[in-house]
Amino acid sequence: MLRSLVLHIGDPDAGAAALRAALAGPLGRGVCAAASSGRLDPALARFAQKAARRGAATGLLSIEPPAGVRPLRLRRLLATHFPDLAPEHPPHLAPEHPPQQPPQQPGPLRIVAYLRPHADRLCALHAAAVAAGRCDAPLEAFLDALEAEGGLGSAARLAPWREVFGPAFVLRPMLAAELTGGDVVQDFLALALPGARRPGPEPAPEPGLPGTLSAADTEVLRRLRLSLHDRPAELRVRTVQHLAGLLAADPDPQAGPAVLSRDLAQRLLGACREDAAALDAAFFPDRPVMLPALEALPGRAEAAAAQPGPDALRLVGIFAALAADLTASGTGPDPAAPGED
C-alpha cells in the first residue's frame, strides 16, 4: 500500500517531457513511478492499481491531462483513488506563509509544480505553439495574443492550489540556480525520494517535444510555417511538427538562451511586475525569485532579439521553398513517425 504519493502537475513548457522520460526508468525498490498525459480520472485509477500490484510504498506520478487540472477536482479524485493519502493540512489550517522549501517532514501527499519566470515562460509557450504548427507570429505578436487571453500571469491561477492543498502543494521555480542538480528531474527526485540514489544526468528529451527547442530553432520553424502559409492547414502543421521533432532529436549544444529585445523586456517588466511580486509573496517569501528574474530582463536584453545567422536563415529559406514545392502536391511527412530518419 502506498504510504506516500508525489504528484507532478506538468505544464507542457516546464520540464514535463524530461520528467516523463526519467519516470519511465527504474527508481528503486518500493517505488512505483509513471507519467500520463491522458485523462485524469483513468490515469489516477491505473496508477493506483499499478502501485497496489507492485506493493509499492512510494508513488511518483507525473500528470499532464490535456484539459488541464482543477485543484478541487484533483482533490476529489485523490480521495477516491488514494483514500489513505488525504492532504495533511486541510485548507482552513493552511499556514499564512507556507515554506519556500519543501517541508522537512513531508506529508504522505505532495503536489509539485514547476514554474518558469515570466520571460522564460513566454519564450517556452511561444516555442511550443510554433513547434505544434499552431503559430507563426513573432514573439511580440504572440505576447499580444496572450495578453488578449488573460496574459502571462500565474499568481491567480496557482493560488487555488495552495488554498486546496495547503503546504502539500509545492511550487518550484524553474531556474537552474534554484533547482537541486540544476534541472527539473534531479530536483523532483531529490524532493520525492530524499536521500535515495538518483539517476545520472538528465536523459535526452524525447524527439518532438517542444520544450527542448531553442529560440533559433523556434525562428526556423516559424519561417517554415510562414513559407507554407498557402498550403492546407493539416499539411502545414504536420510539416512543421515533423521538423520540430527532428530539431529536438538533434539538439544544438551551443544554442544559447533566448535574448529579448529591449522593448519587449520593458514591456514584460511593466506587464508582469505585479504578478511576479504576488508569486514571490505567496510561494517564495524567503527568497523572492520571480520579481528579481523579471527585473533583470532589461539588463540582459539587446537592441534587437537574437536571430539565427544569415547563412542559417538562407538555408531555412531554401529548404522552406522546397518544402512548399513538395507540399503543393499534397505530400507531407508521416505524423506517426516523428523523428525517424
Binding site: D250, I318, G330, T331, D341
Partner: protein, 359 residues
C-alpha cells in the same frame, strides 16, 4: 527558306545556356545578317538532340525534326541556329542522316560549332554539375578516377569524328577566355554565326551561377540521404536540380569556398589527358607555340591548384549549428519525398519547366 543552318552542338559546361538565352531573347542582331532561332518550350533544342540517341525520345524523332524543317522552310532568315549541348552525345553520322532526311537542302552547307573546355576545368565543372543533379555522389578525386576509366573527357577522337564527317564546316573553339572573341563565349559564338558581319549584342545576366563548395556539399548530403531512402531514381536528380535552382537563386552565403582542384589531382588529370590535349592542339589549334591552348591549360591548372584538397563534408565546411540545421532539413525533405514520390516527381518536373521558361 533559311539560307544556312548552324548547329551549336555543345559541349556541356561551355556557356551553352548563355548562348541559348541570348538567342532566345533576340539579344544578338545584325543589320547585315538576319537570324532565326526557332523557339521550343525551352530555350534550347534538347528534344531535337535527344530524339537522335535517347531511346526514351527516339519515337519523337520525326515529329521534332519536321518541326525544325517547317520553321526553317517558313523563314527567309540568312542564318538559323539550332542549339543543344546534348548534341555532344550524338554521333556525327547520325546527325548527318537526320539532316539528309529532314533538311536535305542544308546538308552540304550546314555548319557545326562546338566549344571545348580544357580537361582540368571540364573535370571540375562536370563534377559540380553532376553533384548538383545527384548523378555522382563521389568527391572530386573519385569522380575524376571514375570518369577517366570511362574515357569520358577524351576529346580528340570525338571531335576528329565531327571533322571527318563535316570537314571545315565543323568549327571547334577552345573555351578559354583569352582565346574567345572579346573574352566571352556568347560574343565568340556570334562572330562565328554572323561570319564577320557587324552585330549588336546585349549580354543577358550570367546564367548558371556557379554553386559554392558549401552548397555542393549540402546537395551531395541530400542526395546521399535520398539514395539511401529511395535508391537510384530520377526523382533524386529532379529534386537535386530544384534544390540547386533554389540555392542559386538565394542570396550568396556570407562565406563561400570556390570549388578548386588540388595539386596532386591536377597532376593526375594532366597525366590522364596530356596526350589527348596534345592531339587536340595538333588537330584543331595548330600553329600556336610553344604548345597549344589545351596543353597550356593543363599546365596552368597545375600551377594554380591548391596545395591540399578542399573538404567536401558539410560538417567541415559549415558551422556546427548550420550543419545540424542542414541535417534536420534534409531529413524533413527526404521523408516528404519518400511518402509521395510520384506526386513530387510531377511537381518538380513542372517546376523545372517553369524555371526554364522564366516563369
Amino acid at each position: 527558306m533559311v539560307g544556312q543552318v548552324v548547329f551549336h552542338i555543345g559541349d556541356s559546361k561551355t556557356g551553352s545556356t548563355s548562348i541559348q538565352r541570348t538567342l532566345a531573347l533576340g539579344a544578338a542582331t545584325s543589320a547585315e545578317v538576319s537570324l532565326l532561332y526557332p523557339l521550343l518550350r525551352t530555350h534550347a533544342h534538347h528534344a531535337v538532340a535527344l530524339s537522335l540517341y535517347d531511346p526514351a525520345h527516339m519515337a519523337e524523332r520525326a515529329r521534332h525534326w519536321r518541326w525544325v524543317a517547317e520553321r526553317l522552310a517558313g523563314s527567309d532568315a540568312d542564318v538559323a541556329v539550332i542549339s543543344a549541348e546534348l548534341f555532344e552525345n550524338v554521333a556525327p553520322a547520325t546527325l548527318a542522316e537526320a539532316i539528309a532526311e529532314f533538311l536535305p537542302e542544308h546538308l552540304a552547307t550546314a555548319r557545326f560549332v562546338a566549344y571545348v573546355r580544357p580537361h582540368a576545368e571540364r573535370v571540375l565543372s562536370a563534377w559540380t554539375q553532376q553533384v548538383k543533379t545527384g548523378t555522382t555522389l563521389r568527391d572530386l578525386e573519385g569522380f575524376h578516377r571514375h570518369s577517366s576509366r570511362r574515357g569520358r573527357f577524351l576529346y580528340a577522337p570525338r571531335f576528329e569524328a565531327w571533322r571527318a564527317a563535316f570537314g571545315a564546316r565543323f568549327v571547334l573553339r577552345p573555351m578559354i577566355r583569352a582565346e574567345l572573341a572579346g573574352g566571352d563565349v556568347v560574343r565568340d559564338f556570334c562572330e562565328v554565326v554572323f561570319a564577320g558581319a557587324p552585330f549588336e549584342l546585349t549580354l543577358p545576366p550570367p546564367a548558371n551561377e556557379a554553386l559554392c563548395l558549401e552548397d555542393l556539399a549540402l546537395l551531395n548530403a541530400l542526395q546521399q540521404r535520398l539514395r539511401e531512402r529511395l535508391g537510384q531514381d530520377m526523382l533524386r536528380k529532379a529534386l537535386g536540380g530544384r534544390l540547386a535552382q533554389l540555392l542559386q537563386a538565394a542570396p550568396p552565403r556570407s562565406r563561400q569556398t570556390r570549388p578548386q582542384l588540388h595539386r596532386s589531382l591536377a597532376i593526375e588529370i594532366a597525366e590522364t589527358y596530356g596526350a589527348d590535349a596534345a592531339a587536340l592542339d595538333a588537330s584543331f589549334f595548330a600553329g600556336q607555340a610553344p604548345a597549344g591552348p589545351m596543353t597550356r591549360a593543363l599546365e596552368a591548372a597545375i600551377a594554380r591548384a591548391l596545395p591540399e584538397p578542399l573538404p567536401f563534408d558539410p560538417s567541415r565546411l559549415l558551422t556546427p549549428a548550420e550543419a545540424r540545421l542542414a541535417r534536420c532539413l534534409e531529413a524533413l525533405v527526404v521523408e516528404m519525398v519518400a511518402e509521395r514520390p510520384e506526386g513530387v516527381r510531377q511537381l518538380l518536373r513542372a517546376r523545372k519547366i517553369d524555371a526554364l521558361m522564366g516563369v
